[in-house]
Symmetry: C2
């Protein structure tokens, strides 16, 4: 039995979802509050998840031709102001450096909230000819946005992310890159993090400051609220014109470049918690879990028990699994609960009786199912089981998403769904900003995306009744 | 023949070393100036070297028990001020954030110049009992120090680094960790970067602000100036006391923890340039080179040439080498010079005649030696050759270090060496600050370190003639 002492400190999800989230973050030791208001410390258990996400993303980025760079963390005010829509979007929420080396600076520098302006400035220097294109760059950094209310991973004044920035010779190539990066994000979400997503385009209202088009992947959390997992922006030639990024084409004409940017953040750790977690804590999909297997020795003081635990660990490590032995001086019950809180996908129990019988007991974190496996077959069975857990976690999340996606053809229906069932609501839209604003006002929901996979639910806009142009996913969002 | 057009743009080292350095950085496309004064853009070719350094360090860190985390990038002024020596050391060179979200902040926040204060603050919250020790943490971030004059990699207002911070139950464990990390830095420098170093301790004057002891590895550049490659600090219990980091020991007594910190920075890329480079550009040791082999097709428009180049590339990649084909529309001469500027350790030339004869021509970057190798033996010979280049580059740098390390027993001798031969000067020292200051004043040199490997050169201090206590490496430094 798992020890209740650890578990009881987590508020049940059904009682208070926000508190459950905070408890899980704390008990799984993912973050800690810092002495810097609105900023978080990402602890080893949290950072190890981010390292795995980085690794998965970076591999795919590089395979698609991305090169990493490092831009300055500070941006002069004059540079930020070069693109009008962009500065309007970000200026209200930046932090300003005004003093350096004991002197007041002549020009304020903001801590980067995002780096389009720096990349454009750089491109304007290095791009001269068609030979210099495309430039497909990315950086792994943190950014600062002066949020008023904060929550670990979901909304903090500083967060970690990657920001990719590219320039291309044609609009088509920029569009292709924007979509390609969204596919990579969807691949990571679904096939590594076991988080099913809806792919689509943001409305004019919800798109990125300065972009021509923003694509997004949207996931659904346990409480029925949506979470934007990653975005990919096509800027067309607007930024390039503002920053004078031009190239001499093969036909000897000076032309502007076409630009994109795309990012995924530590927010995904919040998504992992809220898509997979339960009242006992975190539940990590095996492909992303820093520790996939925790071996808990039973009666570990008895001769041969710890030795066997280490032997199994070494054997499983050789097979490529991420394994640890919990050989601390706590009770097995405490250790079981600890494995659960931390979301380790598989626990292996091994005691004197097991050793005598030549088997171990495997316990799945996701279903708590117990499976006896003989030592001979341990590596093979563990591999199969981890794959099964990964698949089952995705399937459960997919079922949840489907069960919490409804259709509405009129406002009454829509408001009722939002207030009772929550989740995504699919509804038709005329395409105008006023209807979007009205929906937000009446029900607190926003357009999550215009999905790539369109359906015709009805002929008229759910708000104004005029002819519909698009089907939209609506929902409350983080 | 290498194309002179590219090469001629590099100022010869003997003519103007500082300009040679700047030219190499620019021509090898390692960095670019940014629109943010004193800050650099690290371009793909530069960042790829840093990625390899990070990978080598991180692997060794993790094998020694280090866990990665992320601390806030901003530090409240009150937190920075908690440790007196530390704040005195850093306050003059920090950048201050004074406004956030369009409001003046109640308390100034500095952009981290280093993060001892944040780590101590964190340790004070999570360390309660001996069970919580040791904490062996590290972060990969950038830091800001408001330097007046800057040079790419060597001195910039922002640089990338790792900063490790640990706390331990005993002074012995802290000392052991401090020394262990220095060994890891020396290992990377010598065995990966092919940069021989002198290991030792900093004097009181040169040690880190707030440390009890600072250990260092020091290397010698082509111009005879020293470069501090990495440092490891033992803080004793001073920081812990200032931040009230205490733990309940097994004997039920509350005790302070013992702290260490250690770091290596993007400065190492500057060291790579200045230890190995020549008048044709960069020279990268094979173990750190992002591209180890560049295949240059000769008469690439002739049938079968490009195909053969790609075939060799794929074959060499399968053997684990980092290879590219330069199939651009420039001449082979231009490509040869380009490979040299970028410091690619090995160039493989393959043209119609080579294909007919069943061999390729391998050209070493370090010696320009040409070796004909049959296609059958290419992978094996390439592996041997890269190992040989790595070893030879280290040996040459080691010889240079030895030839530029002199001994002096009196001031006249010492000043003469500093002004003519440059390099390191070994000389005895009484141990007092006044003599150190006087040496700096008279000859512009500083103590680089008190080497772990002590020798007795004479009985008296080279400055004051009083009895000597230590042998010290002195030199001009970056």
């Amino acid at each position: 039995m798992a020890d209740k002492k650890l578990v009881e400190q987590i508020t049940p999800m059904g009682e208070d979802f926000a508190q459950w989230y905070t408890d899980v973050v704390k008990k799984a030791e993912l973050t800690d509050y810092s002495s810097v208001k609105g900023f978080m410390v990402i602890r080893p258990a949290g950072y190890a998840i981010w390292e795995n996400i980085m690794h998965e993303l970076d591999q795919r980025f590089k395979a698609s031709g991305v090169e990493n760079v490092a831009m300055p963390m500070l941006i002069p005010e004059s540079l930020l102001q070069k693109e009008k829509d962009h500065v309007e979007g970000f200026a209200p929420e930046v932090a300003w450096v005004t003093e350096g080396g004991q002197k007041k600076l002549e020009e304020r520098l903001c801590v980067r909230p995002t780096s389009e302006t720096l990349f454009c400035d750089y491109f304007s220097k290095v791009v001269k000819s068609y030979r210099d294109l495309p430039q497909i760059l990315n950086q792994w950094v943190s950014v600062v946005r002066w949020e008023k209310t904060t929550r670990p991973f979901l909304r903090t004044r500083e967060f970690l992310w990657q920001e990719g920035h590219t320039v291309h010779a044609t609009a088509e190539q920029a569009e292709e890159r924007t979509k390609l990066m969204l596919e990579i994000y969807a691949d990571i979400s679904e096939n590594v993090l076991a988080i099913p997503v809806v792919k689509g385009q943001k409305t004019e209202k919800e798109k990125f400051a300065g972009a021509v088009a923003t694509y997004t992947i949207e996931a659904l959390m346990h409480d029925g609220q949506a979470l934007q997992c990653a975005t990919s922006h096509n800027f067309g030639a607007d930024f390039a014109k503002a920053f004078n990024v031009q190239f001499l084409d093969k036909d000897n004409q000076l032309k502007p470049v076409y630009e994109t940017s795309w990012g995924m953040t530590t927010r995904m750790i919040g998504a992992l918690i809220m898509v997979h977690g339960d009242d006992s804590g975190l539940k990590l999909p095996p492909r992303i879990a820093p520790t996939q297997i925790c071996i808990v020795p039973i009666q570990q003081k008895k001769e041969g028990v710890l030795e066997k635990a280490y032997e199994l660990r070494d054997q499983l490590r050789k097979s490529g699994f991420r394994v640890k032995v919990d050989d601390g001086d706590k009770s097995p019950g405490f250790k079981f609960a600890d494995c659960e809180v931390r979301g380790i996908p598989l626990r292996i129990e091994v005691g004197p009786k097991d050793i005598e019988a030549g088997h171990a007991v495997l316990v799945r974190r996701d279903t708590r199912e117990k499976i006896q496996v003989s030592f001979d077959e341990l590596a093979e069975e563990t591999g199969k089981l981890l794959e099964q857990i990964q698949q089952d976690m995705y399937d459960r999340a997919k079922t949840f998403l489907e069960e919490h996606t409804s259709s509405a053809t009129n406002m009454d229906e829509l408001v009722d769904i939002v207030n009772t069932k929550r989740g995504f609501v699919k509804a038709m839209w005329c395409g105008c900003r006023e209807c979007e604003d009205k929906l937000k006002e009446m029900s607190g929901i926003t357009s999550r995306c215009i999905p790539f996979e369109q359906e015709s639910i009805s002929d008229t806009c759910v708000v104004c009744g005029k002819p519909a142009t698009k089907m939209v996913y609506w929902g409350r969002a983080y």
